[in-house]
Amino acid sequence: MFGAGPADAAQASPSSRVTLTINGERRTITVDNRTSLLDLLREHLGLTGSKKGCNAGACGACTVLVDGRRVNSCLTLAVRLDGAEVTTIEGLAKGERLHPLQQAFIDHDAFQCGYCTSGQIMSGVGCIDEGHTGSPEEIREFMSGNICRCGAYVNIVRAVEQAAHGK
């Protein structure tokens, strides 16, 4: 059972043009209105650092910053982001110089498989910016939207502490 492929008669989904800044680079893109920010990054722009763990807002693997705030990119429709500024894990380091939280993750071995790591780090950057790093308990609470099935939580908290307080 094979379709005729893209044909004129085929039902096309509406698409829109959006202009947004991704990791400092301004881009104008035509997106399928159904496309999430996560799929836009991964499937259309080749930025595969953001991960899909659930596609439903439950795991945080897809966390990126939109206008400085952490969001689950799987739940964010790309078409709504006209004019937005998006930072992904690929945009965090300054050239060869890692962001202090990236370095802290390496120092504290705050990951094993690394699949949740992009989301943890982006979420950690948000957590630090929001000032929710007063105590390990507070960090745990505000980092609980990011699941790590490898169980690196103890070291994730230490890494966020290090980056927040230069410890």
Binding site: G53, C54, C59, Q102, R149, Y153, V154
Partner: protein
């Protein structure tokens, strides 16, 4: 040959692949950028048993971008040869799209391929499948049980357990219920498949590139050498990627039929249907003891779920046979075939489930006898393996408990249940033994030393997060006498020298020993070249007196006399030296080999709400030599987190009316989050076990999770006086 100085092994190094992982550059299966790739989405069944009576694909195919819909109606040609190199179970594996039979809820029944993911997802939702549904059975407690598959799940007996129970001073008769758990690695399973003529390349999430290569060759009826499987990074697996599941075949099939490379990623929901799980158990344990706490008898009668098409087994007998010196034992394992997909080994398979039962029962016995739970265990320490009469290669469980008790502050504990309060919280502490086999497999490796003094070592092994890249680099660096920076370890390619599956904690031992052998050979080759070379400062030196350090060969005890690899290779006009080595375990070992752990937990239970919070945990491990301490600690702490999940949260819920898993998502299937995890501590006993392996290691990755759930359950009892013989332990059970 002179032993090499140990510099890298044992050093707390950071992961060598850390930079790739924190910058988002590590490529997991779905991340590979393959030219011309199109997207596949699986349509799965909405009944658990019956026949497909029709598949209407018209709406789906009318979508722009849809390239095709494939199902059994297209009669896709697949060979399904027998395949011995597979973690399949007795029975016959599920064949993809070969007939109209539905065997479980969520079985793949069609696949949609489209140029974009959005189009494929939407079109998949438009495929209408009609069924002739039959009544399904998915409830373990109601299905008829039968004997498990030989040779792994056969009854076992020693002595006369019935008689010994009859005459025991003290007897316990206990029934347990353990829930089904899903591995739920954060990375969903994904495969990219590309055909070049009759050659197939797949980028896959797999813990066994060689196994997946063999399975694809068998399913498609093509020579093994026509298939290449790549898996450089794996986003966790915990056992779920130990076999090539149907979606791997579907990706390759779709690529063949559509004539384009195809990417197929399962959804999180689909992860609950077709990539295995830890089966539910019903377990009856009877235990006989003297008044002084010497065990006289144990009987294990249990059943667990499997599919109707394969007879699953797991290692659920060993602990009952070897953990304690019990003269009379009987075990009667049974399986219950149901309208479900086949389970697959999940971290600490079999051991984790049986340890929960045995170790909480030991705690009950300790209370019944008024003996300290650690003391009770020590009174039943065997001098040799009670099931084989073999000596233990090493067994340092006593030491684990001694070290752990001191560090945890065990002696300060008031043993009476419900004796300690902290406001509304009831506080309790508990212990349990952890123990896991030392599995060993054949492995090979290749090493090349280049003229610039750097080396590349490779083996078709895997890194699910365990740290293989790093630990193998450490072993290779010391064996070659190079700094870690000058060694690159590669893995995850079926074209590399073969290695076993990354499961059963066998990688460090097996592949590590092969890497050691390979790099020893390569170093000796270089030394030979030097001592036989008249122009070398090492000319004429006994090769056994030469060591290599920092890339420089020199006489042991006379560092001034020597030269570097670079000088040696340049002078001899060699662009590289290479070696291929291996590890093969002896066919029959004279020793009983296991890793051991003492697990300690402190919990707080809300007296009014029944809510359980873990306050702290400590694990002390006898795991042999520790190659990579920083990563070993992460493994141990991760094992505790996994165990906390199993103890308190994880529970796959099936609606037995239609076989649907109702919590097939991460919002309803609870796993530990950061706020659930306090400070956790791990201590590895110093030491090594050269009877187990040439590099002195035992096993680690499973061991660290085995005793966690029972230690927590025992702490919950101590806190509340309530004995819960069920997993997970929920607030409801404590109210």
């Amino acid at each position: 040959m002179s032993p090499q100085p140990q510099a890298a092994v044992g050093a707390p190094l950071s992961r060598v692949d850390g930079r790739l992982k924190v910058t988002g550059q590590a490529k997991y299966a779905a991340d590979h950028d393959i030219d011309g790739v199109v997207h596949a989405v699986v349509v799965d069944s909405s009944i658990a048993r019956g026949r497909i009576t029709g598949i209407d694909t018209r709406d789906a195919e009318a979508q722009r971008g849809v390239l095709g819909v494939i199902s059994h109606l297209d009669k896709p040609r697949l060979t399904y040869r027998q395949n011995q190199v597979s973690n399949a179970f007795p029975g016959e594996r599920l064949h993809v799209f070969q007939d109209d039979t539905v065997r479980f809820f969520g079985q793949p029944v069609a696949v949609v391929v489209a140029t974009t993911l959005e189009a494929a997802e939407h079109a998949a939702s438009l495929v209408k499948v009609s069924y002739d549904a039959e009544e399904s059975a998915t409830d373990l407690t109601r299905g008829p049980a039968q004997d498990g598959p030989p040779p792994f799940a056969r009854p076992y007996a020693r002595g006369n357990a019935e008689e010994a129970l009859g005459s025991a001073d003290v007897r316990l008769d206990l029934a347990y219920r353990l829930s089904r758990n899903h591995h739920n690695p954060m990375e969903t399973h994904a495969t990219i498949a590309r055909w070049d003529g009759d050659k197939l390349t797949v980028w896959d999430k797999t813990q066994w590139v060689i196994g997946t290569q063999n399975e694809l060759a068998a399913v498609f009826g093509i020579p093994l050498e026509n298939v290449r499987v790549l898996s450089p990074f794996i986003g966790g697996a915990f056992g779920s990627a130990l076999r090539a599941w149907p979606h791997v075949t579907i990706a390759a099939l779709a690529a063949r039929e559509i004539g384009r490379p195809v990417k197929l990623a399962l959804t999180r929901r689909q992860m609950y249907f077709t990539v295995g799980y830890r089966p539910a158990y019903e377990y009856k344990l009877r235990l006989g003891s003297t008044r002084r706490g010497r065990l006289t008898a144990m009987t294990h009668d249990f059943k667990y779920e499997t599919s109707r098409y394969e007879q699953f087994w797991e290692a659920n007998l060993a602990l009952g046979q070897m953990l304690y010196a019990v003269p009379n034992v009987s075990q009667n394992p049974q399986i219950v075939p149901l309208d479900v997909s086949t389970p697959l080994w999940m971290r600490g398979p079999g051991y984790g489930s049986s340890a929960f039962v045995i170790e909480t029962a030991m705690d009950e016995l300790a209370y019944k006898l008024g003996i300290d739970p650690i003391e009770l265990r020590l009174r039943n320490e065997p001098g040799e393996d009670p099931s084989t009469q073999q000596p233990f290669s090493t067994r340092r469980l006593r030491e684990c408990f001694r070290v752990g008790a001191r560090a945890f502050g065990w002696r300060r504990r008031d043993p009476r249940p419900r004796s300690t309060r902290d406001g509304d919280w009831l506080i309790g502490t508990g212990v349990a033994t952890g123990c896991y086999d030392v599995f060993r497999g054949q492995a090979q490796a290749h090493a090349r030393l280049d003229a610039d003094g750097t080396a590349v070592v490779q083996s078709a092994t895997h890194d699910t997060g365990t740290g293989t890249y790093t630990s193998m680099t450490q072993v290779a660096a010391d064996a070659l006498g190079l700094t870690v920076r000058n060694v690159t370890f590669r893995l995850g390619d079926s074209a590399m020298p073969p290695a076993p599956a990354q499961g059963a904690s066998q990688t460090m031992l097996s592949v590590g020993s092969a890497v050691q052998d390979t790099c020893d050979m390569l170093r000796e080759q270089a030394i030979k070249l030097a001592v036989e070379d008249e122009r070398s400062p090492l000319h004429g030196v006994d090769p056994d007196d030469v060591v290599v350090r920092g890339g420089r060969l020199h006489v042991k005890g006379d560092p001034a006399r020597g030269e570097t690899y670079r000088q040696l290779l340049a002078r001899n006009n060699r662009t590289y030296l290479e070696a291929r080595g291996s590890y093969t375990p002896e066919e029959e070992s004279r020793f009983s080999m296991y890793g051991y752990a003492a697990m300690f937990a402190e919990v707080a239970v809300d007296a009014r709400l029944g809510l359980v919070r873990v306050r702290r945990m400590l694990g002390v491990y006898d795991a042999g030599r520790i190659i990579s301490p920083k990563l070993a600690e992460s493994q141990a702490v991760g094992g505790m987190v996994g165990g906390i999940g199993a103890a308190l949260l994880e529970h796959t819920v099936t609606d037995h009316r239609d076989g649907r898993i109702v919590n097939a998502n991460l919002a309803d299937y609870l796993v530990p989050v950061n706020a659930d995890i306090p400070d956790l501590k791990a201590v590895y006993l110093d030491g090594e076990d050269y009877k187990a392996a040439p590099i002195g290691v035992k096993s680690l990755g499973e061991l660290v999770q085995i005793g966690v759930a029972p230690a927590i359950a025992n702490a919950v009892f101590h806190a509340t006086g309530r004995r819960v013989r069920e997993l997970p332990i929920t607030a409801e059970a404590l109210l």
